[in-house]
Amino acid sequence: MGCATEDVIAALRRVNEVIAEHRDELVDLDREIGDGDHGENMRRGFEAVMSKLDMSELDTPGAVLKLTATTLISTVGGAAGPLYGTAFLRAANAVGAATELSAGEVAAALRAACEGVVARGKAEIGDKTMVDALQPAVRAAETAMADAAALSAASAGGSTSAGGDGVPAVLAAAADAAEVGAESTVPLVARKGRASYLGERSAGHLDPGARSAALLLRALADAARKAAGGEAP
């Protein structure tokens, strides 16, 4: 069993909750090396996503992701708006018209999302941006996928799907890696975005966008686990 439209919606609901809970933390991180709006921008954006989703009838995960993308683009503003917007847009394109997403499709969507952010923002690993959370997350997701595939190939003798209960594992791996990646931004000197104006003074602070990316992936992973009937680990 894969990840259906209502699972994606539930996951975004969870993202909205988590972002709202962490709004002030993100604001504070952004005050330190930016302009203090990241938490409010993200909160405003996902709140808008929620009302858009409530008003719409959507029948594929791709449609949900696409509405999320356009809503973020038109309500977030700042650097994060177009970057997260592009991420969701690319993820939507990656999953196409599928009505249920396999773990493999989820991992592919993550890769597409991350590549979209890089294409738009031109940041590399180590520039102290959300890319420092997203890129390790993609790699971890793909490794988890490969592990799961190898495992199921070994045990079940070549099932074609990695299995619906692969989605929680893939997203959990992504979230774990994103958190580590976000933490890794602390000592870095920023080279992209507003924090780069601070030069050396940007070192010693967690990047707000990397933190929000890690929160977002953790919310998705929690939602996936819950959908699969899992409990807290």
């Binding site: 090396i33 409010e40 708006g81 177009p82 507003r194 780069s196």
Partner: protein, 333 residues
């Protein structure tokens, strides 16, 4: 946080409603999405000049909408760049058939959002170009930064290019002029205090009684260096010298000197600082031929100032002097 507001979430829209009430003949204001356009837009056959950015820098940009300057402004949330739909809505309100020039300050968020808007507008067949201004010498322009920020020079660019558009200079001409202004303008700012974004509720940074911050931008972000506060002579020198060196300005150059308050610095101090800058420039043989003094690009209630110097040519002087009628800048009309 002490502010004359009702709700941090509605500050921008509430303020725009007040602006609409204050300038009924001059402006047409919409709040969903937020766009401030000149009342008579679109002006047929004229290049439309559109700018925008986070709110909190008033009068920039909405205060510069009107004949002889901007056709529309897109105010984002406080210190947050506007979204592409705002820019698109502005473009479609003011496009008079001769093309649209977007004036974008060089911040990642502004550039990304305006780029997206320009792509969308181009897809609809409009001739939409953008110029990115990056006049802040406090930031090293290198591979290791997001490039220099757009600050005070934006005001001068909008006036000069707005005047050219008013005289029916075509889109190529307006774009080339904008690039010439960008190539010839440099700025540097400083702060004595931070400022408080309504939805944050606390100052973006705090300075001790004996500290100042040099090389700040306009978003309440910390500057490049924190140092002991100095007197006016010291402050003006610290702002002016890097500005002069960067272009570089040379003896005999004609210049427009723009002494800007970050919002909370009283006019009595600003004129005092302006006088010092004029003296220092005279000593270097730079001829100040035009000046602008006041709070024109601000960071809410921040106390501090910036200095912008534009190297003038005859055409820029003529366009600077041309009539302008906006909420914040008005002459000859």
């Amino acid at each position: 946080m002490k502010k004359i507001i009702n709700d941090p979430a509605t500050v921008v829209a509430d303020s725009l409603r007040g602006m609409a009430a204050a300038h009924p003949e001059l402006l047409r204001v919409s709040t969903k999405p937020a766009v401030v356009a000149r009342a008579d837009a679109p002006v047929r056959g004229k290049v439309a000049v559109v700018s925008g950015g986070g709110s909190g820098h008033e009068p920039l940009h909405a205060g510069f909408v009107g004949p002889g300057m901007l056709d529309a402004a897109c105010p984002g949330a406080v210190f947050t760049s506007p979204t592409p739909d705002q820019v698109q809505a502005a473009v479609s309100q003011v496009d008079g058939g001769a093309g649209v020039l977007l004036v974008v300050k060089n911040y990642t968020g502004d550039v990304l959002n305006f780029d997206t808007a320009a792509e969308l507008a181009a897809a609809e067949g409009g001739d939409v170009r953008s110029v990115v201004i990056d006049d802040d010498v406090a930031v090293k322009d290198s591979l290791y930064t997001a490039g220099r920020r757009g600050v005070g020079g934006t005001v001068l660019l909008e006036k000069i290019v707005g005047a050219a558009a008013d005289r029916k200079v075509d889109l190529d001409g307006c774009e080339a002029l904008a690039r010439r202004v960008i190539a010839n303008v440099r700025s540097m700012g400083m702060a004595l205090t931070g400022c408080t974004v309504p939805h944050v509720g606390e100052p973006t940074f705090t300075l001790a009684e004996d500290e100042m911050e040099i090389g700040i931008g306009i978003h309440g972000e910390p500057g490049r260096e924190r140092m002991p506060a100095e007197n006016a002579d010291g402050i003006v020198r610290r702002l002016l010298e890097p500005v002069l060196e960067d272009l570089p300005f040379r003896e005999g150059d004609r210049a427009l000197l723009f002494t800007n308050s970050m919002g909370g610095t009283p006019l009595i101090e600003l004129y005092l600082a302006h006088g010092i800058a004029e003296r220092l420039l005279a000593e270097r043989g730079i001829r100040v031929e035009r000046r602008l003094v006041g709070p024109f690009i601000t960071s809410l209630e921040m106390q501090g100032m910036s200095i912008t110097l534009l190297k003038l040519d005859d055409e820029m002087i003529e366009l600077w002097d041309a009539p302008v009628h906006t909420a914040a800048l008005r002459w000859g009309a």
